[in-house]
Amino acid sequence: MYIDAGTGSMMLQILAAGFFTTLLFFKNICAHFKRKPGSRKE
């Protein structure tokens, strides 16, 4: 099926993706420091 993606929606997606990439980056840093020293990364 083909759908109308919507310009506004595309713009928002780019904005949201940028925001969540930054969020994930900091989340991963926090997870790294929370990990006990010597424990293995899953």
Partner: protein, 448 residues
């Protein structure tokens, strides 16, 4: 050969039925994407993981390949699902998109109608929903995903479970401006609803009045994957809202004595063990005590209830029992009608539903008293659904019926066992009555 009306929108292919088999014709427009879908190994990967409806290449004609599809015994629509079903269907869609990206493809649409349930597991149905991914392209289906999944889930979670009905009103999904207006103010303070719904609605509004054509900007794959991952984590953590309803606890808070309840269970067991059947319908299934019995002797049980919490319980039951229970959110006073283009895109409940047997336990007095159905209409309902029926007749002097009539008994003077039986005998051939001990209720077995 008969084309399936639900697949008419797709220029890449369509589904048709021939000699009892279900097929998909791939059209020239979708041929190269479909070849990539096969060659990249994505089709095999998704099928072996049980995420994609199985198919095999049947033939190739002048227009393109023809696939033979495995048939899902019963199809329910998103507006008939529980909260968890819609959430699991959303998670599957995101999962399929991520798998597709790993194989150089992407989903070009994200309709909730592309997902069906089999053994209470979501299954992706549309083999022509995949297109080749070009580095930097945004996810074209994001808007549809938001309208079909995120908006209804948030409305069910933050406003009311009954908001799911909005999907029936608009087959294209819940409009984002409407979702934004209906959601409570505090969702503006939460990052996911703020971005996916509120700001999304504002951006749509802003660009819809813009007369210049905007060239979509690039979205690196890494960022797209981050967006998909965050949405999946958010949905995964989203639990069904706690909404207490009378029906979800009907059998733990009822007027049955232990003896009468055991008798009822035995009678259902006896009715179901007569022979193993392909399908059984349990109307007014509540939390599924009798659905569970029916599922032991039927390949598929369609368990319908009008209470969203009961449908949620039925879905969890099917998952735990690993039985093919198909929960259906259904108000018999207003069942799912034919909807969509020319009213043929999505079939009504009655067009889709026919089984080998039907259960109607503690149900018919609600139809007569609350819904003001005539006895003859009740008989027609069961006649339409199956050739064998087990029905619990609840008389006028029963405490539950009294609760419903509230002193208006004179209107329902026709509600007698004799009248009930007589109306059913116009549709069915045989009748067996089993009075429930310590109760005025009677179990009636009708067959043709």
């Amino acid at each position: 050969m008969e084309n399936i009306s639900a697949s008419f929108r797709d220029p890449a292919g369509y589904v048709f039925e021939k000699d009892g088999g279900l097929y998909r014709q791939i059209l020239p427009y979708g041929k190269s994407a479909f070849e990539q879908f096969l060659q990249s190994g994505l089709a095999e990967k998704l099928m072996s993981a049980g995420k994609l409806a199985a198919f095999r290449l049947e033939a190739e004609n002048e227009r393109g390949p023809v696939l033979r599809l495995s048939r899902i015994p019963y199809i329910t629509y998103p507006y008939e699902w529980s909260f968890s079903q819609l959430r699991d269907a959303a998670l599957l869609t995101l999962d399929v998109t991520r798998e597709a990206l790993s194989c150089g493809m992407i989903l070009k649409d994200a309709s909730a109608f592309n997902v069906a349930f089999h053994h209470c597991r979501p299954l992706f149905l549309d083999h022509t929903s995949f297109e080749v991914y070009e580095e930097g392209m945004p996810w074209r289906a994001y808007r549809q995903f938001t309208m079909h999944f995120l908006a209804p889930l948030l409305l069910m979670k933050k406003v009311d479970l009954r908001c799911l009905g909005l999907l029936r009103e608009d087959i294209g999904g819940i409009p984002l401006d409407l979702a934004s207006r209906l959601l409570p103010w505090h969702t503006w303070l939460q990052p996911n609803p703020l971005l996916h719904i509120h700001l999304h609605a504002l951006m749509e509004q802003k660009y819809s009045s813009d007369k210049k054509t905007q060239t979509p900007k690039r979205l690196p794959k890494k960022r797209l994957l981050a967006l998909l991952e965050v949405m999946a984590d958010w949905l995964d953590a989203m639990k069904p809202p706690r909404q207490s309803t009378e029906w979800a606890k009907y059998y733990s808070d009822n007027s049955y004595s232990d003896e009468s309840f055991t008798f009822k269970q035995q009678a259902v067991n006896e009715f179901c063990t007569k022979n193993r059947v392909r399908s059984c319908i349990d109307l007014g299934a509540n939390c599924g005590i009798f659905t569970k019995i029916a599922a032991e002797y039927a390949d598929t049980v369609i368990a319908a209830d009008y209470d969203a919490c009961a449908v949620e319980a039925l879905y969890q039951l099917g998952k735990n029992e690993q039985a093919d229970i198909q929960p259906v959110l259904l108000d018999l006073n207003n069942p799912s009608p034919d909807i969509g283009v020319l009213n043929v895109e999505r079939d009504s409940f009655f067009k889709r539903t026919h089984a080998d047997r039907v259960l109607g336990l503690a149900l018919v007095h609600h139809l007569r008293v609350t819904g003001n159905w005539s006895i003859s209409q009740i008989a027609t309902l069961f006649d339409k659904l199956a050739p064998q029926a087990l029905i619990e007749f609840v008389p006028l002097d029963d405490v539950q019926t009294q609760r419903l009539t509230r002193g208006r008994e004179e209107i329902y003077q026709d509600w007698t066992l004799d009248n009930f039986r007589a109306a059913f005998m116009e549709k069915f051939k045989y009748c067996e009555a089993k009075p429930i001990p310590q109760s005025g209720r009677v179990l009636l077995v009708f067959s043709k």
